[in-house]
Amino acid sequence: MELLFFGIAKDIVGKSSIDLSKNSSLPKSVEDVKLFLTKKYPDFSKLSSLAIAVNSEYAADDVVLNDGDEIAIIPPVSGG
């Protein structure tokens, strides 16, 4: 399971991806990912919003995660 970071999320974490597959306890849901991140990196709580995409689609908090999923951390977007 890989977490990808973009924009300010990349600055907060200090890298563009984290491989969680060696972790003993993997996040089971999108909500778990958000809890894991805000606990480890409190700066995530200061953002205007925090969205998660699973396999490049926006995912609600209750979406269940699988081992091979690509999980992207989407801070407030600002294209255009």
Binding site: G7, K46, S56, P75, P76, S78, G79, G80
Partner: protein, 139 residues
Amino acid sequence: MKKTIIEIVKTLNVDVVYKELSDPKSGGICVFVGTVRDFTNNEEVISLEFETYKVMAIKEMQKIANQAIDKWNLNKVVIRHAIGGKGVEEPVVVIGASSGHRDACFTACRYMIDTLKETVPIWKKEVFKNKTVWVSAHP
């Protein structure tokens, strides 16, 4: 010919969009170009830096184009966004639509740029003389 052109590019060429949207069934072509402004809140902007989660950004841009085509019966749509560093006056996004009558393409372009700004995973960092700021990151 394909109805939509959806792209993320390093260098945006705004000159090609008219030909891309030109269509025998269209009586109107509308194009919006987003560009780099020189000042934000009285602070001089040196440049903007864009990055994207490309595979998802393309999907989200395609969704916006499809919604607009369904809603306003457009003949052709172009959504093209630049990434990387862009200086003042440089174009960063081009949105275009062609349709039978002008109302549809005006309204559709407005909808597409507004929705792109809300949903497409592209991020912009403003580079000032002494600092950089991720736009909209904080309340």
